[in-house]
Subunit: 545 residues, 2 copies
């Protein structure tokens, strides 16, 4: 257990200094004007713990003294998530919010008792799983409380129950995705939930943030897998679920899923699971231009024969990906594509999972029927698969050489997809000047798709946080009205100011009403999901849109 907890934390705030390959640095210099400056990390400031002795004793009485940690490393290990701004702060830029203690309960019952103690002692609680939030979802904000603790769920790491007939498994919230899959593999089962954060993210985090993974086109979004939830709240424990579908009032599970620790702490999740696929096949294709690419993947989704993994890069992302791949025979590839009349190559990776080669072959044929794609073969698909968790790790090296690197994502209906992509791209270029903006579709639905942007620019050494905040605000403004502020990264504190534009003042008011009901004193994850004061006396007046 201890090993597991330490693993979760190792290297979180101390960047690993893996060097970038020289051709990648050259490409960044050429395209972003990046200079030749090393920007090593500095140790961030860690203030003394504000947790008073009475609160610490009360928490220790619940979880045991060894599981209330106030040492520097434990606190720094839960100081924020993995956004670019989080990384800057962890490297000594700006002010890093550090929790006053880390509390490690061992059971759902202990989580309830921890919340009771926090209410009594005026302590804010930030639920903490893998710490992979990129939207400020785990920032140690104390709000109006006397102190703030990180409630680390790492010890809630059991596979509680498996129902192989119904294909439902109950998993504890602190299980990382790889460990959950290992435990399920013993039963021949898998979650099929593979976000880029897979190696560190947890079951509770997936549920709290409405996660979507790289194979979600095939396996469904995490919320589609949730059969039941167990939530610890300051007013008691709440359990939901028990049927595959229901019309017994609104689906309250969907109110817990996506609640980001603001309504309670998810301690267990009952999930629909599937047999582990015997065969996984990934392939690369190229299509000529973004419009033809989105038309092709739209047809696959609307014919309901999409591959489990469907990932379409725009021209810029394709160009950079191929350039960075390095080992590839890029010249030969470009000639091959020119010979096939492809002027503006967009890379498409498709992946199918199945119980047999025959099933995968059959499904592949259905997906590809009528699509005008240039096949690049399985090696390129496998190359994507092997590198698919690399992104977050590469950021440490990029940070070292002075790059501003961040991602953001959205989703909209098919008819607005091109407009939304252009609007976000333009907003980012306007804000950042010389930069690389890459985009891909990673999730397709019958009615629309997600857009995932990666941005690379030369860091403004004088005000790196301000530089990105201006660009992020511009992108968020571009999204409002055209798409959702987040397709799978959640709201956190970064998107909270934009939520009202999406769900209306009544929507924010309803969320606040639910929070008041479940967390009357407001100890839970202050500043996340609901911006500012969540205790308005009432709702907007009649006539509100």
């Amino acid at each position: 257990m201890t090993e597991h907890i330490d693993h979760t934390l190792r290297g979180r705030w101390t960047p690993t200094a893996a060097p970038l390959p020289p051709h990648a640095v050259k490409l960044l210099r050429d395209r972003t004007g990046l200079g030749d400056v090393r920007t090593p990390a500095r140790a961030p400031h860690v203030p003394p713990s504000a947790l008073d002795d009475a609160a610490r004793a009360a928490l220790a009485a619940v979880v045991g003294p060894g599981h209330v940690r106030v040492d520097r490393d434990s606190r720094l290990g839960r100081a924020g998530g993995l956004s670019y701004v989080d990384l800057l702060r962890q490297r000594g830029d700006g002010d890093l919010a550090v929790p006053d203690a880390v509390v490690l309960p061992a059971s759902p019952e202990q989580v309830v008792a921890v919340l009771e103690a926090c209410v009594e002692h005026d302590v804010a609680v930030v639920p903490f799983g893998g710490g992979t939030s990129v939207v400020g979802g785990v920032t140690a904000d104390r709000g109006d409380k006397a102190a703030v603790v990180a409630l680390d769920l790492a010890r809630l790491d059991r596979l509680v129950e498996v129902d192989p007939v119904s294909r439902v498994a109950v998993l504890q919230a602190g299980l990382t995705a790889p460990k959950a899959d290992r435990l399920l593999a013993a039963h021949g089962l898998t979650l099929g939930h593979v976000p880029q954060s897979y190696e560190r993210a947890t079951i509770g985090g997936f549920a709290a943030t409405r996660s979507a993974g790289q194979a979600s086109t095939g396996y469904g979004r995490f919320e589609d897998m949730v059969e039941g939830v167990r939530l610890a709240t300051p007013v008691g424990e709440w359990r939901l679920g028990g049927a595959p579908a229901s019309a017994a009032g609104p689906d309250l599970r969907r109110l817990v899923v996506g609640s980001e620790g603001a309504f309670g702490v998810i301690t267990e999740v009952a999930l629909r699971v599937r047999p582990r696929p015997a065969v996984e096949r990934y392939e690369g294709f190229v299509v000529d231009g973004w419009d033809r690419g989105t038309t092709a993947v739209r047809a696959m989704a609307q014919r309901r024969v999409a591959a489990d993994v469907t990932r379409l890069s725009d021209v810029d992302e394709t160009d950079v990906s191929l350039a960075l791949a390095g080992g590839w025979k890029i010249g030969a590839l470009k000639a091959y594509l020119r010979a096939r009349g492809v002027r503006r190559p967009c890379l498409l990776v498709l992946g199918w999972h199945g119980a047999s080669e025959a099933e995968v072959r059959r499904r592949r044929a259905e997906t590809l029927r009528g699509a005008e794609l240039v096949p690049l073969g399985r090696a390129l698909g496998e190359a994507w698969r092997h590198g698919r968790f690399r992104g977050p790790r590469q950021r440490d090296a990029l940070m070292e050489v002075g790059v501003c690197v961040e991602t953001l994502e959205t989703a909209t209906h098919w008819s607005k997809l091109a407009e939304l992509r252009a609007a976000v791209r333009d907003a980012l270029v306007d804000a950042l000047g010389r930069c690389v903006v890459m985009c891909h579709v990673s999730h397709v639905y019958e009615t629309g798709a997600s857009l995932y942007f990666t941005v690379l620019a030369a860091r403004d050494a004088a005000d790196p946080i301000g530089q990105w905040q201006v660009a992020k605000a511009a992108a968020s403004e571009a999204i409002a009205g055209l798409g959702t502020i987040s397709h799978h990264h959640a709201v956190g504190s970064d998107h909270a100011p934009y939520l009202e534009a999406e769900v209306g003042a009544l929507g924010v008011g309803v969320l606040a009403a639910v929070k008041r009901a479940l967390d009357p004193t407001g100890v839970l994850n202050p500043g996340k999901l609901i911006a500012g004061d969540f205790h308005p006396a009432g709702l907007a007046s009649p006539g509100d849109r």
Copy 2:
């Protein structure tokens, strides 16, 4: 427009006296002890309207005087839904709750203004679509208000917008399903939502009740189609939607869908639509025994190759269905089945929709791969299809001859399905004595299925309402803990007392908190969804389960 409204109401409370075929009556006599007594309907008592002049004038100022109706026929036409108890009351048994007026707004804006007027004049509002609720969802309960009006949405009957690229259509709430499909057919599109109430039920009702239709295994439940909603509430209008998927906090659309008029009045719904199928193929099969039948349809669902319509009858329902079919050569059929070793025939109807014969053939082959079914051919499938909306109409004739006839439904995970079916069946037989209890699975999911029960007994002439209420309570108690209180009929007033057992005191408390936020004075659909007083000062104390 006027034609449409009248059509909705004609014959609603005056049962049509279509005679039952003699062999059906004989079967009922043999199996339920039904006597030879005619029980003609009596005209129900209609009290004078309690709507005062000021309220009436305020409503008329919004919708026009001709659209505030207080005549007997209009009021009786919206007096309750279509449950067995509703039908008894409409036939003169017990007390019928009759709305004091019927208000017919013409636009979403008028609905908001009607709600404002009702708040000001202390008038309760029962949103009314097709009036097909079978759970007391449209009972004219005034709660603690001075009067109650039925807010009939029949004039909100427009197809507002079609996005053929994204396959999203915005439909107004008062559109009946057939009219919605006719409007969509002009664009080559369909909803694919076909519940037994299809002929009269409305878009708003489907959304408000989390409806599921006979083809929902293929097209998804109604909630799965909802891309966006427009809700009129006493504190203003609330709009949600705009992306196919999102992680921008909890999915608040799912809080509106299933809210049964208790949080607001749904005025428009943005729905995922599909191309009208060029080919529909229905077939009958038989499988030997319930366990083999559920194993077969479970395999189809878990392999994700289920037919769009998947409907498995138990032995009793199969037996009665074949006996009532009459025209069928039942003797020959039974010999055919015996020759194939089938001792306990369970009828399975499967239906596939597709763009071409080839697609349907391919999908059919996938569904049937490995399943041990005895084919009965397309005639039986088509017979089911042609009779699929007949059930509600046959009830009038059954009422006439003194039958107690009702349906109820639930859902659970596969591993509990047999236990749940037996428990409900036993509870009904214990409560009713000599009776026919039939059951079928009509919706299959990867993790479970629905169970739909039809009950026939000789009516207790002395206390027909009490007779059924005892049986319903016994069935509901049997369901609690094993399944959901409703898979697709919703909560209404009939299931409201059982909701806490399913979603916990915290769940009911959260629903009450949302209602307080959106409907602070409680004018909306009193007594539905949330049982009793919905204004508790707070939630259950800590330690609540």
